[in-house]
């Protein structure tokens, strides 16, 4: 077999695919071929590297050179300089926001330095469509060992000892969940992987399925062995076509090798997997609604108990874990419960993947040890806030979580601390907001999302979120009253206490957290009829500072409704009755004479 001296890894996650990685890959292939390097250089399509903002990303080994924003037209230089002549192409190397000097190697990049990759270990490191590359990095060893050397009870004990808690939001002990399912009597049981990732901005589960699908297959087979199930289902959003495709390929490859099917590794254990596509309803992330959807029914939650571990899919005991939870399992079995428990905090072991989004320099996917502070994630890994603006808040836990202010930036990120300060871990969405964000509008945005996604089965959620949204809209339009704030609190308490499922129970959280930490902004809206951040259009008012206006007429020319009057070299005036508050005049004024 020919010796390949260089591997060119092209990130082909959803982010880099949408920014054109396929064309880059094709151009590199053509150049490699043109220079006769095909037998020396291997081009590998991988899953997500995590640093989505700077894609398409290309990494070249053995050097570990990290190239970003690569375009098809860069391929000729990249191949002839780096792959033929061994010279790095400096202009394509990563440059930090704070330090414009190019960073040649992946391991020196600040975004990756503080990360500890467990669930994402193979993402960006292997060809996700090649089972042999997964096997080369100890893939399926945990399953082989469990089936041939361990009893189901020993597997469950190890998962319990590791302290792993559900990464989908609830944070329930994974080992206990497995134990409940194992203890439930019955010859037929199921294992379900919840890949119905619905939080706005969150894509950790998608990335794992795209970059390391075999880890999920291996973990589900281990879970099947532990609880006594021979069939599993992966419930994944149809909006994740790359993830679905790679998972399908991985399942086929595992079947062909006999890792899925009958008598796995020569034992009596049989296990197989099927994919079920979800249509994108947020509520189907709730486990009883997800089960209903797999059964072909409308995705609506049911009251619990009975819990799925007792009566789940087709009324059989069912174990449901999310993608990130499963992704930790093979490594826990291979490296030991103590290894996993050594990471993180007393009650939150291991690592957590976060999707960094919003007003932050380094957007993308990061995996950090539990207990790291929000400040470290946002500033050391995320590179801080763009344009030298001030941090205002960060939203953790998606639409079920809350917005935390700057005073809580040193909060350690773990399940219990985040809950104690009024937010939650959730599935790992982390949206950063700078000083230009209006917290009332943010609360309205998240409530609009949960209201739209409410399945409508229970009254508190269906009607309650609707009324809350109406109140928030009223406030942002300048029609709010001080009583509205009290009414929001009262409605929140009712919805949280009386809703049927997690969606309703947590829907008021963004409102409660913003009221707790940013009450002054609500009061400015309802009492002073002002939006301090200048976001809520109805509360804005534009005026001309007479001392600064030179009468250049530029603002007048750009106004779409002729609300600005004035002649050349005379101070202009804005007719507030006519003004539609579009703001077009502000950037046009060269003298900064128009203020909000």
């Amino acid at each position: 077999m020919a010796y390949v001296r260089s591997h060119v890894l092209v990130c082909a996650g959803t982010g880099c695919t949408s920014s054109g990685c396929k064309a880059v890959e094709k151009a590199i292939e053509q150049e490699v071929s043109r220079l006769g390097l095909e037998s020396e250089v291997k081009i590998v399509e991988t899953g997500c590297f995590g640093f989505c903002k700077i894609g398409p990303i290309v990494m070249i080994y053995p050097e570990g050179s990290f190239y970003c924003y690569v375009k098809p037209e860069d391929a000729a230089e990249l191949v002839s300089e780096h792959l033929l002549k061994g010279r790095m192409v400096e202009r394509l190397l990563y440059r930090d926001v704070q330090n414009p000097k190019p960073t040649a190697f992946f391991t020196d990049i600040g975004f990756y330095k503080k990360q500890q990759r467990v669930a994402l270990a193979n993402c960006g490191a292997i060809d996700a469509e090649n089972i042999e590359e997964y096997i080369a990095l100890d893939g399926y060893q945990a399953l082989a060992n469990a089936l041939t050397q361990m009893t189901p009870a020993e597997v469950i004990h190890m998962v319990k000892q590791s302290g792993l808690r559900g990464r989908g939001g609830g944070g329930f002990s994974t080992g206990l969940k497995w134990e409940f399912a194992a203890r439930s009597p019955g010859p037929i049981k199921y294992v379900v992987c919840n890949a119905d990732e619905g939080d706005p901005g969150a894509f950790m589960d998608r990335s794992i399925l795209e970059g390391d699908p075999h880890a999920i297959i291996e973990a589900m087979a281990i879970a099947g062995y532990a609880i006594g199930a021979s069939q599993g289902y992966v419930y994944v959003r149809a909006e994740y076509p790359i993830a679905v495709n790679r998972l399908s390929i991985a399942i086929d490859q595992a079947r062909q090798l006999g890792i899925l099917g009958k008598g796995i590794f020569g034992t009596k254990f049989s296990f197989d997997l099927s994919i079920r596509l979800g249509a994108g309803a947020f509520v189907c992330g709730e486990e009883t609604a997800l089960i209903a959807s797999i059964e072909g029914k409308r995705g609506m939650p049911k009251p619990r108990p009975p819990y799925p571990a007792v009566r789940g899919l087709w009324d059989k005991p069912t174990l449901i874990n999310n993608v990130e939870t499963f992704a930790n399992i093979p490594q826990i079995l291979r490296k030991g419960a103590e290894w996993f428990a050594a990471m993180g905090t007393e009650n939150s072991k291991g690592t957590k993947v976060f999707a960094l989004a919003g007003n932050i320099n380094n957007t993308g996917l990061v995996e950090v040890p539990m207990g790291i502070t929000l400040r470290e994630i946002i500033y050391d890994i995320g590179g801080g806030i763009p344009d030298k603006k001030a941090f205002k808040a960060c939203q953790t836990g998606g639409p079920s979580g809350g917005c935390l202010p700057a005073s809580l930036l040193d909060t350690p990120v773990d399940y219990d601390t985040l809950t104690a300060v009024g937010s939650m871990m959730g599935s790992g969405g982390l949206i950063v907001m700078d000083e230009s964000a209006c917290m009332v509008d943010v609360a309205r945005f998240f409530l609009e999302f949960t209201q739209e996604e409410s399945c409508g089965k229970c009254v508190p959620c269906r009607e309650g979120t609707k009324r809350m949204l109406e109140i928030l809209e009223r406030i942002t339009k300048g029609h709010g009253t001080p009583d509205d704030v009290d009414l929001l609190l009262e409605l929140s308490a009712t919805i949280k206490g009386a809703s049927l499922c997690g969606l309703g129970n947590t829907a008021p959280n963004p409102v409660l957290a913003t009221l707790r930490f940013f009450r002054a902004e609500f009061e400015a809206h309802v009492v002073d009829k002002k939006c301090p951040a200048g976001v809520c259009q109805a509360l804005l008012s534009y005026s001309v500072i007479a001392e600064k206006c030179k009468g250049c007429t530029l603002c007048k020319k750009v106004c779409p409704v002729d609300a600005i009057s004035g002649t050349l070299k005379q101070v202009h005036i804005i007719d507030k009755a006519k003004c539609i508050k579009c703001g077009a005049c502000v950037p046009k004024c060269p003298f900064k004479a128009i203020v909000r």
Binding site: R5, E133, I264
Partner: protein, 110 residues
């Protein structure tokens, strides 16, 4: 049906191929590849090195290429990195690089 032994066989076979990504080879052969090196025949030296590794199935050697700062007349330069030491060889030919690889691998195994 795959056995555990077959699984382990795949692992060790493919792991060798992935060593390029893990920088896990004890012997590193760096072949000069700047413009003067290429014009003095470094591509033939590279081809010989890769062939030697493939033919002999050497899994402990990694080949890299980069500019090596020597006189043009001293090309093709080859740097052998093993046991924490770097030794620079000048005016290497394809035959010489085969010999260097064999020697480095033998010494590293000792």
């Amino acid at each position: 049906m795959l056995t555990v032994a077959e699984l382990n066989e795949i692992r060790s076979r493919v792991r060798k191929q992935l060593r390029v990504r893990t920088n896990g080879s004890p012997v590193k052969i760096v072949i000069a590849s700047g413009t003067t090196a290429i014009s003095s025949g470094s591509r033939a030296v590279m081809a010989a090195a890769l062939e030697e590794i493939a033919v002999k199935g050497l899994s402990t050697v990694q080949v890299e290429q980069r500019e090596i700062d020597v006189l043009a007349t001293e090309q093709t330069a080859v740097l052998v990195c093993a046991h924490g030491e770097e030794v620079l060889y000048k005016q290497c030919t394809p035959e010489m690089v085969r010999e260097l690889i064999s020697k480095a691998v033998t010494e590293s195994a000792e």
